[in-house]
Symmetry: C2
DNA sequence: ACCTGAACACCGTTCAAGT
DNA sequence: ACCTGAACACCGTTCAAGT
């Protein structure tokens, strides 16, 4: 009886490891990604992984970069900058919604190389929108931050729902009921917002925010 | 020789525990908050803490709520809604900058009771700004998300700087140099942005984003 | 009711040893 | 060069036992 597990015949690579990590993250969320789970999935040892990856942080960062790079690669080039900005923003939103761990990671390490592409694309499109030079960088920073910020918050909700058992409608109904039960004299706005909360569509609300932003940018011209 | 540490004479309470946790978080960042560090600081045992607090998540949430509640309590009521919105936003930004762990926590659990106050205040002020009913909730959601999102990103940077050794100027110079070294044909925007990055003020850029947002909101009237 | 601290079931990471 | 897996130094959390 062999004491050791059979050795992998195909070589390991950072890419293979990062892809396996992403699969684990997608399946079970952030808590599921452990080196033990990773060695099991790859039928290998700890050292083999550490040979290709510096540590867990490095692994998460690489997996995040891969997702963002894919989104930016997929995003079609549109003629009209305003529409293109909406498309790029929504692409990021959807990717982070599909991979909630990406949202958490981006808010933890916002200077990743992957975001270079995002800044370039969004900045370039704002330039095409004829935003004046003096406001261009503030506008780009604000829009990128809005997109990542909202997508991250949304991802947190998505995580809450997959980690727990409940479905989205039930969760929103609970929060909505809480808001509704607040004294209208003390919380007039939140009290009124409760009804909207139950029916709102996250994607639409996200896009409404992008549009508000672009409307603000348009006043600068 | 007594085998056991002397028993606390004053009683423990959730408030005392939460405050001690906040102090540890402020001192050493998120990694420093362990139950071992907490028992040492409070001269108590694990069970004592678990008697007042459900688990670590609960502890972090309570500490976050306390910080946000303080900010919202401190925020002065201003006559002019536009100025009041800037004040509230900046108050949140500064609080999260001073306590970076709050930013991380809020992006992890965005439905905390503490945020009720934030939604109420910001929503109410937008209402005072005569934002039409149909757009009010999207606008409030977007603005709150922008504020928390940017503040969270900023907090991540702050964390990067305190956890590592470097100072802010050196860090920005490094990123800026990286951006500048990119091929201007491939990254025209980021290449140009490098100079701005070195000199920009996070607070000012944050406020510029709030203003862009409010300008967009103003077009709805 | 409130508190103590040994013990348990996990982590990420290291490293001597294998091929 | 690349890989294995026992071992180490941590975690959060539990719980029988104390006051």
């Amino acid at each position: 009886m062999a004491k050791r597990a059979p050795r992998r015949t195909d070589g390991l690579s950072k890419e293979v490891i990062v892809q396996a990590a992403a699969a684990i993250l997608d399946d079970g969320g952030e808590a599921a990604l452990t080196f033990r789970a990773l060695t099991a999935r790859l039928s290998t040892g700890y050292g083999a992984i550490y040979h290709h990856v510096a540590n867990k942080s490095d692994l998460l960062a690489a997996a995040t970069d891969a997702v963002i790079a894919r989104v930016m690669g997929d995003a079609v080039v549109e003629a009209e900058p305003r529409e293109a900005l909406r498309t790029v923003s929504l692409g990021l939103f959807d990717a982070i919604d599909a991979h909630p761990w990406v949202g958490a990671q981006l808010s933890r390490e916002p200077w990743r190389p992957a975001l270079l592409e995002v800044y370039e694309r969004i900045g370039g499109l704002l330039e095409a929108l004829e935003v004046p030079e003096r406001a261009l960088f503030d506008a780009a920073g604000a829009l990128v931050n809005y997109v990542l910020g909202v997508a991250g918050q949304n991802a947190a909700n998505a995580r809450l729902l997959t980690d727990g058992e409940g479905d989205r409608a039930a969760f929103l109904a609970t929060v909505s009921a809480q808001w509704e039960s607040l004294a209208p004299e003390k919380y007039p706005f939140v009290h009124k917002a409760a009804a909207h909360l139950r029916e709102h569509d996250d994607r639409e609300q996200f896009l409404a925010g992008v549009d508000l932003f672009l409307a603000g940018v348009a006043t600068l011209r």
